[in-house]
Amino acid sequence: MIHESAIKLPFSYAAGGVGSRFLIALRDDQTILGARCASCSTITAPARSFCSNCNRAVNELVEVGPGGTLEAWTDQPGTGIFGLIHLDGADTALVHRLTGSDAWQPGTRVMAVFAEERTGRITDIEGFTSEGDST
């Protein structure tokens, strides 16, 4: 005998100073910000407050993307297709939803698609579509 159920886990995520600037830029300017380390010049996107190479605080935010290159992807049936996207100008990759194509390959050029209604969440980027489909 198998029982199926679900537990709802409500919680609240505080984005912090740099994370808030990242989310506000998505919402208000439809731009994607990375954080540039003053010591090693690594640009981390999405922007975060510390450089993971140097463990130093990072304050300089720079615009990256909205185009990028797909590094890897996975299909989660019933949930969607998710990709690891290396945004142009960034040195790290971010995870987001892939939409509008079914021919994903490592190296596929992708482009961010912003949501019409934006509220300061990572889902203000609706997803990434293959660059050929975005025109």
Binding site: M1, H3, E4, S5, K8, L9, P10, Y13, A15, G17
Partner: protein, 154 residues
């Protein structure tokens, strides 16, 4: 620089964690009985201890159990509490409306206690040793919540 306070973002998120619980043979038999409004305890062939809810092995003798005995839907309240800050109810996935009572109930014919909800309409009646009875749903579907809660007998 602007003299305004910077805006900080706080996002509320609700995760839905789904799960599947395989009941195992003894619990399956127990729940099939519940579906018929019949409660049974599993009995250790060695020491005779009657477990409710059932389990495959006797916790004392470490031997497999497969003998069953009928148990009444009345029993004795061994411990109780009234919960005002609810935890998530695993059966529904949502916090149970509070306050609500929980008790350890030793049903007549069992040697162990069952953890279940208590009717708190008259919280003054909740005492250790109180006699209680199961309040069943009208439509049974073979799950622990076929018993909605236990009420204190007058």
């Amino acid at each position: 620089m602007s003299d305004q306070q910077p805006e900080y973002i706080r996002t509320t998120i609700e995760l839905n964690v789904s799960w599947r619980y395989a009941s195992g043979d003894p619990m399956e038999r127990f729940l099939r009985g519940i579906e018929q409004r019949r409660i049974e305890a599993i009995r250790c062939p060695k020491c005779g201890r009657r477990y409710l809810p059932p389990r495959p092995f006797c916790g004392r003798c470490k031997v497999r159990m497969d003998e069953w005995e009928p148990v009444q839907d009345t029993g004795t309240l061994v411990a109780w509490t009234v919960i005002h800050l609810p935890i998530i109810d695993g059966r529904t996935g949502e916090p149970r409306p509070s306050p609500y009572g929980m008790g350890l109930i030793q049903l007549d014919g069992a040697d162990t206690t069952l953890n279940h909800y208590l009717d708190t309409a008259n919280p003054d009646h909740l005492t250790i040793g109180a006699r209680v009875r199961a309040v069943w749903r009208d439509e049974l579907h073979g799950a622990m919540d076929d018993i909605m809660h236990f009420e204190v007998l007058p």
